[in-house]
Amino acid sequence: MNRCTWVLLICGLAPRAHAGDNSPAPIDVRHFDRVIAPLLAARCLDCHSSQAAKGGLDLSRRERALRGGDSGPAIVAGNPGESLLCERIDAGEMPPKHPLEPAERQTLKSWIAAGAPWGADPIDRFRYTTASRAGYDWWSLQPLAAVRPPAVHDTAWPRNDVDRFILHRLEERGLTPAAAADPRTLVRRLYHDLIGLPPTPEEVAGFTAAPSQAAYERLVDGLLGSPQYGERWGRHWLDVVRFGESDGFERNEPRKRFWHYRDWVINSLNADMPYDRFVKLQLAGDLLLPGPAGAAAAGFLVAGVHNTVVGSSERMIRLARQDELEEIAAVVGQSFLGLTVNCARCHDHKFDPIPTTDYYRLISTLDGVNFGEREVIDPDSAAELAQVNRQIGQIQESLRAIDLPARQALRAERKLRDDSKPASNRVQPFAAWEFETDLRDAVGALHGTAHGGAHIADGALVLDGRGAFVQTAPLDRRLEQKTLEAWVALENVAQRGGGVIGVETNDGVVFDAIVFGEREPRHWMAGSDNFVRTKPFQGREESSRAAEPVHVAIVYRDDGTIAGYRNGAALGQPYQTGFMPFAAGAAHVVFGMRHAPAGGNKMLQGRILRGRLYDRPLTAEEIAASATTTDEHLADDVVFQSLPPEVKSRRAELDANLKSATEHRDRLDARSKHRMYTIVPGQPPVMRVHVRGGVTDLGNVAPPGGIAAIVGLSPEFGLAPDAPEAARRLRLADWVTNPANPLFARVMVNRVWHYHFGAGLVETPNDFGFNGARPSHPDLLDWLAASFRADGFRLKSLHRLIVTSAAYRQASSSNRRAFEIDAGNRLLWRFTPRRIEGETLRDAILKVAGALNPAAGGPGFEDVTITPNNGTTYYEAFDPAGPQFERRTIYRFTPRGGRSAVLDSFDCPDPATAAPRRSTTTTPLQALSLLNNSFILRMADRFAARVAADSGADRAAQVRRAWQLAVCRAPDAEEERLSLKLAEDYGLSALCRALFNLHEFVVVD
């Protein structure tokens, strides 16, 4: 793009609609395309286009415009006086709220007078940028311009090409850059910026002793190479992707296994993973990179809020899903493209050239994204694990071949099992699990898999009430009416909330389960999502001897009636609520857990002897009959003793083999299995345009695709509307990161610039559209983006380029003339001083106090209490002491709404929405937190102890050391006097507390 156009755009005028006035240019077809069409598009076509045009008037096509609407012909070519259009606009009636300017009216009249020559037909509303919206010619949608660094007068100042762009603009305005920052200021700035921690006095001294260019470059390389770099810049990225460790909304359940994503971000940045790879893996890592790293990366897609209470009707469920997709589309569009595509959900984008169709094509690529936990196996160990599992399976098969006949023989002998009933009395279950020797479904293919230590012993499934449960394969048929049935021995009757057998959707959000004691102690209930289908049966309390097995069944009819049974007799009263069918492939059966994810009070402690699922409501008689087949348990030992001697030794041998194979498997498991919160992909339906964003009025099919407006990048994915989920996301990942996509590089270099300088070249890092800011240095932005791309999207090279520039190394000193011309420092005539972020503040305090625990990665530390209370989870900040809590703040567990006082008052955003830039406030509450917060006081004590240990008993030496540690410099005479007085009167800790509160401590200049 040439400079002229840039200037126009920067000034925000885009006055093409006016350009025809008094211009000698002929009023022809070209004039129409450049002037008339944009004017009509901007001022008329919102209402007067397409079949549904208001008043029947469609001004988007020549033939229809001439024909006119309900009131008659709108345009009489060559005769403005006869044209209804002119009459209406002259009367100020049209457009209704904001009448046309006189010049605009004249433009239209002149065009009609000239015979109303028409160009592109129909008018493409998005073709040209107007005064009120962006078109396809919008600056950020254009390919990267080939830009050369401009010439400058002061050739001595620039240290690299970045500086030429900066200096060129300064010189244009007659400004000069500030002097270079002094070495101490620079080294402190660099540490804060690159690793988010202050330097030690020794590190400062090391640089200031000989601050050469080479020394500076070594410093930069050292910091970029340190693991703290990823912790610092990873935090920035987590802001952008709204990373939060709870679901939000009503239940707001914690996501205790979501730290994998945070660690993946940190590690990837430290490894200088190319940015295109970094993004591809976040969109499709589970597909591109089998194993934990890929699955962790794709956690990006589900990092936002997730409403797990969606109501009972189809409409509510579908609306909640559309809301979810809008949230994901927003973060994809804004993070990688700087486009607010989400604004096109209900109507064409009001400001950018994104039609609603494009929005639905985009979400069609994302519609396979579901929220949940997955167990991911390390690919390196997968083969070995599979082999061991096969071996275990074979041994178990051999054991089963021995045990099953022996058990059946014993039962027959003891007449414990009532096998004499005629088969016709028996109802064929949908699935049945005997748990005699394994987790297999004796009827169909709903075989179970053990998790968290669930295992078979003595012919029963043993569950520990902590993490053990069994999950089956997905339902192979749709399940409508049903009966859940189980024989269960509770470990104790005091437990509250464990599930025996249940059907749940694959994400665990919707479920029906037999649950013990959740709402009322010792009572059975029909557990369901958010208690939607749960009411008290008002049946008897379970007071029996804990270990005695009971038979429990719950019947679900499609009229919403739910009936419970215990040992064959009705359990209290049936009741009627709603009814929930479960789709084939989208749900499975669980034992030992109310619903996924595992943990909390959802886990059952006891033994399940047998479980059955029927795809029909059993009658009371059928249930009574079934209940009588309850049997006592045959202990493994009893079975063993019944075996002939030779079989006994064979069995013992098998047992030993099983034990060693299982131990091997467990070791492998621990090493290679990773359970994490991430995308749970599912095959989505064919996407259709949802008219006005609702869910009842569906329009055209929207096959997977991209945003058409980006110039030079095809939105076509070549996929059918019913394409497989994986193909959709893979194509999306390719499309977003395509080198021909100019936004991809522009948006990221701008983000990096934003964090280095406190403001981006475009001040709205997530919005490069019409509502966003215009670039302060468009040429520099394109030059940086092109260099970034040419360099293989290496972030560390980009950092190096920026921080070694003279622009970055300026002092922050003000200058009256420059201030008058450019108070906001958009031209970068100095370095803008900045208050450090909440996390950096906390980290700096830990480091200065000598308390920082450098442990990286793994589950976050929790400085909030987590209290589930009747369906809502409350998070309350507290200040736990101990090294595990003294890690960098990026390792803090960050639930939504679970904010800590210091971070909160220092503008740390709640991760409810993306925070591409943070606000910076200075408030009394901030002062109170920094003065009085328990953490601050504790750290002041630690800081004091450290200083005393470092510098002995001499007060003056202590004061100087404390200053050096806190602000990287010695106090001047007055500062020393004030500090000494405070330390002498109230101790060193009081001084340390004061130092944390100094302006200089919280500001980087």
Binding site: V305, D323, F579, G758, E820, G871, L982
Partner: protein
């Protein structure tokens, strides 16, 4: 030496900002001019109020769970006539739990109250006595029948996490009338926070100073007001003195620095807050007749009474917006909110007993102090409840499900038409039919009373100039006294 004291942001003006109660929107404009907030709102809004304000402050009683309008403020004789009959239409209502039982009449008798003859049921005998001061909207309708989205919507105009609430917007637009107390104070129900917790008083994307500040009982009414661990007597003052002296020393040594000046000022305000918060939080000095008026002396009402009284004290001292929640966690048995799925009579009796007298006393007390002239009292809920019961189709159950199509809220005070009810639901109270009012309209009207044009109070966030009213909202002129 060059400094910025000659710039549009002169030092004196800057230091005066809080004492003049200048809104934060305007402050951002000033800071922006001063080059301090380089990345702050790109297009700061114009100064507020836009026109003379009727209301200067508001107190919001926020009912969690869904108050039954049919049993409180929306008198429906037709519903009594149709008691025990099915819904008189073929409609299959799309409601939260999906169970549509038979119609049920109100569990409370209604009568016309005061001079105005406003219909109020016996559920709220004390509030009923204030009928001549109430302005009821009987035709509210909302977009979600799901607790948390509905509550977020009532508070922030959006159904999702992450949007600023009404109190935050007012703080952003108008600032505080005092610099010794927070602008927006939250008093949660003693039984626990509402569903969504602190997200309900979040500043969202607005700067942090606009979030609601929770005021607790005890020695630390506001978090970190005093040192969490005991310090030597007078250490606090000495530490603050040293901080101030060193910061001022830096200011004297270097060029003018608006950021540093703001920081020095923030410590002065913090000290004032340390004095004023305990003073306002201590209600023990209130005269006995006032304590009795609120019900501070009775077990059932004491908890809410303390908060209502505290609310009045906060308003008196210049706090802009006080929010009192009635209801804690949403689920559970017995219910600790207005979510009367099982039994309206039992549930609403218990909940009303907690708040009826204190809320009525608040209105009366504000009135007798002359504060009601420029103070708004808001009494709202998430949604209403269904005219049919939540039960089997052939039964009259005891509970009612969520009803987003029609419900009642009331306001009182500044600029409103008193003793008046606007709009109506249909004959059985199922849907708002006459003059339906959305939360957008409600919020537009509320801002209007504060002298704010709701379309002009905006904040840029991720591509959109965000408003409390999104792209909607019409002022409900019929509620206004002029």
């Amino acid at each position: 030496m060059d400094d910025i004291s000659s710039s549009p942001l002169n030092r004196r003006e800057f230091l005066d900002w809080t004492t003049h109660g200048l809104g934060a929107a305007a402050i951002i404009a000033l800071l922006k001019t001063g080059g301090v907030l380089g990345a702050a709102n790109a297009r700061p809004p114009t100064g507020f109020p836009n026109y003379p304000a009727r209301a200067k402050r508001a107190i919001h009683i926020c009912l969690i769970g869904g108050l039954s309008h049919l049993d409180s403020f929306d008198y429906k004789p037709e519903l009594a006539r149709l008691h025990g009959r099915p819904l008189p239409s073929d409609e299959k209502p799309d409601i939260f739990f999906g169970q549509v039982g038979l119609l049920r009449q109100s569990d409370w008798a209604f009568s016309q109250r005061g001079q105005s003859g406003l219909w109020v049921s016996d559920l709220f005998p004390h509030i009923a006595r204030m009928a001549d001061d109430l302005t009821v909207i009987r035709s509210m309708a909302t977009e979600s029948a799901n607790h948390t989205p509905a509550l977020f919507f009532a508070n922030s105009g959006f159904q999702f996490n992450g949007f600023p609430s009404v109190g935050s917007w007012l703080s952003y637009g108008l600032g505080c009338e005092t610099d010794a107390l927070p602008t927006y104070v939250v008093l949660p129900d003693g039984r626990g926070g509402p569903n969504g917790g602190a997200s309900n008083w979040s500043n969202g994307f607005l700067p942090a100073q606009h979030q609601g500040v929770v005021l607790h009982g005890g020695r630390q009414p506001v978090r970190d007001l005093f040192p969490e661990q005991p310090r030597a007597p007078r250490e606090d003052a000495a530490v603050r003195g040293a901080i101030d002296a060193i910061n001022r020393h830096r200011l004297d040594q270097g060029p003018a620095d608006a950021l540093l000046e703001a920081r020095i000022r923030s410590y002065e305000l913090a000290a004032r807050m340390q004095a004023s918060v305990p003073e306002v939080a201590d209600v023990s000095g209130e005269p006995a007749h006032i304590a009795a008026l609120y019900g501070l002396d009775q077990p059932a009402t004491a908890e809410c009474a303390r908060r209502c009284l505290l609310g009045r004290r906060l308003l008196e001292r210049g706090v802009r917006f006080v929010q009192i929640f009635s209801g804690g966690p949403i689920a559970g048995s017995p219910r600790a909110s207005w979510d009367a799925h099982e039994n309206v009579r039992e549930n609403h009796t218990a909940e009303a007993a907690r708040i009826d007298q204190p809320v009525a006393a608040l209105v009366q007390d504000l009135k007798q102090r002359g504060m009601l002239d420029d103070t708004l009292v808001l009494f709202t809920t998430e949604f209403g409840r269904t005219p049919f019961t939540q039960s089997a189709a052939d039964q009259v159950g005891a509970g009612r499900d969520h009803n987003r199509y029609g419900f009642s809220v009331w306001l009182a005070g500044a600029g409103l038409k008193p003793g008046f009810a606007l709009g109506s639901t249909d004959d059985i109270g199922w849907k708002a039919v006459d003059q339906p009012v959305s939360w957008y309209d409600f919020h537009a009207t509320l801002l209007h009373l504060f002298g704010i044009d709701h379309t002009r109070l905006t904040y840029y966030h991720n591509g959109i100039e965000r408003r409390l009213t999104n792209v909607h909202g019409e002022i409900v002129r019929g509620l206004l006294d002029v």
